[in-house]
């Protein structure tokens, strides 16, 4: 299962002791003050008053110490769109956001639809990325929705899931076959749910705001009909199925219903869909343009409720860099997508923790245990012997996001200037501090 995991970067580093932090490790039922000792790329010990002799000490007093965060939905743009992002720059943005593992979607050129591209991504990451990179392969060749891609070979080369993200699989029969085939390799199928006929030409959520602004709508039902279809197909096939960036009320309700029936269905939500509604959009500002679009207030409430109830398992950013030349156009011409890695924790702390929707343990679970379980990664825990990936964060340090200081190559964020309470403080991958708040 872990053949694909990048090796620990350096096994000769001195041990690192994270001292006096509040450790939250949902997988080990740990929630309290403890020291964490990392050595040779692994968690050696979690306990009280661990000796400090001969080890590098990180003083985590007043901070939280969690398993390394996993973002199961990012776009690193390499190969093919290196002017927008590279595996290196994207990984640095991830580290600055507290993520130790990221899963790039196959929207590359060429698409990650075969083992060669998968290997290229894995190898490039091994050389240039500062965090772990677990690629997601395409469901269909060229992400065209016509013919199944070489799913087994991509799995062998390191792909941890399959998705045609950005391009929903419109053909129900093909989706059924993909789910069946994926079962042979025990790999989850992730779908970007959007009926392309219902959403055709749309630029923002269909509602009062789209009508007011004269922009064509992407109705909530364009997401819902495909979530409904896929749940039915998942039941027929028994496949592990995951809804990407869930955003609409009915979709959340249907996933909750499917879970109640015991189906192996999971879902993720982005920080921005927990935080912003269509009416929060700055008119015709493409930094607010993404798919699925910022939906109505009722949808935002439903996504928050879904996080609370457990219908939504994971937080994923859908980090989607686009260069200024593409985002600075007429709204209808601008591509979909916004940056997300560096602001995720700040947004989620505000919307879920400070607003007392969920506990910190549950919040950490959504960044760690749950995505690890969905993808079958043996990560997301600080249990002795697991990978020394650690996210250290604060819940009260005040800071403001300055997109011009982003590690990303792109600047398309709606959160420039936004003030946050709490966020990442240090990111540790395989025992090495790869980013630290300055």
């Amino acid at each position: 299962m872990q053949a694909n995991a990048p090796e620990a970067k350096s096994k000769s580093m001195p041990a690192l002791l994270i001292k006096n932090g509040h450790v939250i490790d949902p997988a080990s039922n740990r929630d309290g003050l403890a020291d964490v000792l990392l050595q040779e790329g692994l968690v050696q010990q979690v306990g009280h008053n661990l000796p400090t002799e001969g080890v590098q000490v990180f003083d985590a007093t007043g901070l939280y110490v969690a398993p390394g965060f996993i973002d199961m939905h990012v776009h690193l743009r390499e190969p093919g769109f290196e002017h927008a992002e590279t595996i290196e720059t994207g990984s640095k943005a991830a580290a600055a956001g507290g993520f130790t593992s990221i899963c790039p979607m196959p929207n590359t050129a060429p698409a990650n639809d075969n083992a060669t591209v998968t290997s290229y991504i894995v190898e490039t990451a091994r050389r240039h990325a500062v965090v772990n990179v677990f690629p997601i392969g395409a469901i269909t060749k060229g992400r065209n929705g016509d013919e199944l891609a070489a799913i087994g070979a991509m799995r062998q080369a390191g792909a941890v899931a399959i998705s045609d993200d950005g391009n929903p699989v419109m053909n129900a029969q093909l989706m059924r076959r993909a789910m069946e085939y994926a079962k042979s390799f025990d790999i989850p199928v992730i779908n970007h749910c959007e009926d392309l006929h219902l959403s055709a030409g749309g630029d923002m959520h269909e509602g009062v705001e789209s009508v007011r602004l004269g922009l064509r709508g992407i109705p909530g039902c364009s997401e819902d009909v495909m979530v409904a279809r896929d749940i039915l197909l998942a039941e027929v096939t028994g496949a592990r199925y995951h809804v990407a960036h869930i955003s609409s009320r009915h979709s959340v309700e249907m996933v909750a219903f499917a879970k109640k029936r015991g189906l192996p269905i999971t879902s993720e939500a982005t920080p921005h869909h927990l935080d912003l509604a269509d009416r929060d959009m700055k008119p015709y500002d493409s930094n607010f343009k993404m798919k699925p679009p910022l939906r109505g207030c009722g949808d935002v409430e439903a996504v928050l409720a879904g996080v609370k109830s457990g219908a939504i398992d994971a937080i994923a950013t859908d980090h989607a860099p686009h260069p200024g030349s593409e985002k600075m156009q007429e709204f209808e011409k601008c591509p979909f997508g916004i940056l997300g890695l560096e602001t995720a924790l700040g947004v989620v702390l505000e919307r879920l923790y400070h607003s007392q929707k969920i506990s910190l343990t549950r919040l950490v679970e959504m960044f760690t245990t749950n995505p690890a379980r969905i993808l079958g990664l043996s990560r997301g825990t600080l249990a002795k012997g697991s990978s020394a990936d650690v996210t250290i964060f604060s819940t009260n340090k005040e800071w403001a996001y300055d997109v011009n200081k982003s590690f990303s190559k792109s600047r398309n964020s709606p959160y420039d200037g936004r003030k946050f309470r709490g966020g990442p403080v240090a990111t540790i991958v395989s025992g090495n501090i790869v980013w630290r708040l300055s």
Binding site: V211, R212, G214, L215, P283, E330, F331, K333
Partner: protein, 311 residues
């Protein structure tokens, strides 16, 4: 402080609107005379930049600028560098570097002037953006209604046709709503999104044309914009029988009802020839008022004073 142009009715206050409507009356010609010549904007330059074809609006803006003494240059998209792949921002920045005093702009993308105004110090006057707003059309419509009666308050105005794709409808809704008019939007349901009822106070929706017209003081017909329909949202063959305005409809309205149309009209598609040419039709008055209203708008934008008297 950067000068403001006119991007839409939505953002204007009623006082600002009223100031433009009042000033437009000063520019209306006497019967059988042409528009007066003024030197209010002497030495100023107005660029008309039309990325969509237009005859009446472009000509109207051009005449308005010239009657105020300004120099007017008109550019159409086909002749511009857009066809050479230049971005909209670059095109506008290039024109702005030639220091015009205002840019009048029409574009097929909703919000294009709003997006540009964020990057441009030159004031932009929106001459229609996609399916969003057409502010000077709503102003000239209001001027035309006022010319026939005393007030907009409490008027019952039926707007009929392809509401979903109409920037004229949106601007008129925003304007009339600010005056407390009763606005009935009517069309086939596939061209009448239910959310329209919530975009401004005083708006109701109906798919029944008789219901829309009953007791109406004003009937505004909209052109069926086949070019903006990205899919067939209605069967064009039966449109006229359900949503075309005919003489028999007028009996349902108030006796002194006026019939308006932003043009160009499609006789036999949304309006019968008999209605278009009837005594109730004020379609040509609208065109005429277009010039005086645009003179008032250009004056308020270029003279550095916003409508409403604010400096």
């Amino acid at each position: 402080m950067p000068r403001e142009g006119l991007l839409g009715i939505d953002a204007l206050t009623r006082d600002e609107i009223q100031a433009i409507l009042d000033r437009a009356r000063d520019f209306q010609p006497k019967p059988n005379e042409s528009f007066g010549r003024f030197e209010i904007l002497k030495g100023r330059t107005v660029v008309n930049l039309f990325f969509e074809t237009s005859t009446r609006t472009r000509t109207s803006f051009e005449i308005a600028a010239k009657r105020l003494g300004a120099d007017a240059v008109s550019i159409t998209a086909q002749a511009s560098s857009v066809t050479k792949g230049e971005s909209l921002v670059d095109t506008l920045n290039t024109l702005a570097a030639m220091r015009p005093d205002a840019i009048v702009m029409r574009h097929s993308a909703s919000g294009a002037p709003h997006f540009l105004q964020r990057y441009l110090a030159t004031p932009i006057v929106n001459a229609g953006d996609g399916t969003h707003e057409h502010p000077t059309q709503a102003l000239l419509d209001a001027r035309t209604i006022l010319d026939r009666g005393a007030r907009l308050e409490g008027l019952r105005v039926a707007i009929i046709g392809d509401i979903a794709h109409s920037r004229v409808a949106r601007s008129n809704v925003y304007l009339l709503s600010k005056y407390g008019a009763e606005i009935v939007l009517c069309g086939p349901a596939s061209l009448l999104p239910k959310e329209l009822a919530k975009i401004a106070p005083g708006v109701t929706l109906t798919t029944n044309m008789d219901e829309a017209i009953r007791n109406a003081d004003v009937i505004m017909m909209l052109r069926v914009q086949l070019e903006r329909q990205h899919e067939a949202a209605f069967p064009a063959s039966e449109y006229f029988s359900f949503y075309g305005l005919r003489l028999e409809h007028l009996r349902l309205a108030k006796p002194d009802v006026i019939v308006m149309h932003p043009g160009p009209i499609n006789r036999g598609r949304e309006i019968s020839s008999e209605v278009a040419d009837s005594q109730r039709s004020v379609i040509l008055n609208q065109v005429e008022n277009g010039i005086s209203v645009r003179m008032a708008v250009l004056e308020s934008v270029l003279a550095g004073k916003r409508a409403g008297g604010k400096e």
